[in-house]
Symmetry: C2
Subunit: 150 residues, 2 copies
């Protein structure tokens, strides 16, 4: 057995790439119901608490609000009775992430087209290159879009 290592809020903040302010804010909002305190009230974070921040970050980045994350944390403390709710939450998040991925790929396609558009203009020295021979330009850009996407 190893003795338990504790982190201060500042150390935890560095590990999780947050500020101590933000961690206190999360705590105030009920996102961290599990953290220990010293008798004087100082928060003592454990190694395993890092995982909770990973989950919080994952849920936040995939579109959940602070209040919804709090709800999830509440479920976690309620034990087996909320397994179903928690499963559904992650199934919903998965759907959302798949939509987000689709959207991002669409944006990437658009961006690649624009890169082709401006690179061509840069090489020609003028945007007018896209005005002349409209049909050719259109064909070329459609190809460019397809090629870049592969």
């Amino acid at each position: 057995m190893m003795k338990k290592k504790y982190y201060t809020i500042a150390q935890m903040a560095q590990i999780c790439n947050l500020t101590p302010h933000t961690i206190r804010y999360y705590d105030k909002e009920g996102l961290l119901p599990f953290i220990d305190r010293t008798p004087s009230g100082t928060r003592h974070f454990k190694e395993e608490d890092v995982e909770a921040f990973v989950i919080i970050n994952c849920l936040k980045e995939t579109g959940l609000g602070i209040k919804e994350i709090k709800t999830f944390m509440d479920w976690c403390r309620q034990g087996d009775a909320t397994i179903d709710k928690r499963l559904n939450l992650f199934l919903e998040q998965k759907k959302k992430v798949q939509v987000q991925l689709k959207e991002l790929k669409k944006h990437l396609k658009k961006i690649d087209y624009k890169i082709w558009y401006y690179q061509t203009a840069k090489d020609a020295g003028t945007l007018a290159v896209h005005d002349k021979n409209k049909c050719v330009a259109t064909l070329k850009n459609q190809n460019a879009g397809k090629v870049k996407l592969k």
Copy 2:
């Protein structure tokens, strides 16, 4: 030649999945320097203006702020002199999107693990299934993670 079709702000809003309020807000912030007005001041949107909204949406969704999008729109009106700046902007956006895609995929991996975790618990009727036979559970979840990721 077809006669030019004009849209009212309400029609354009519907097409672009925005509200008229939001379009006016974008206009006020300088994102729409190209739109025509009637003598009485009503905005008249053209078919080709839809494309501008697509670009605005693309830049916004990939992390650009309203002010930065305005800067881009200003560049567009300055012609050939800003080709390089515009090209660089899209090259930067591409990098950002690639990072975003990587992050999202990481989150998806986490979510898939959680789905496995809660599905297993649901089938067993209790989360305790993950406490017993820790080594086996750990191996199983590592496999699950890998399998789901393929």
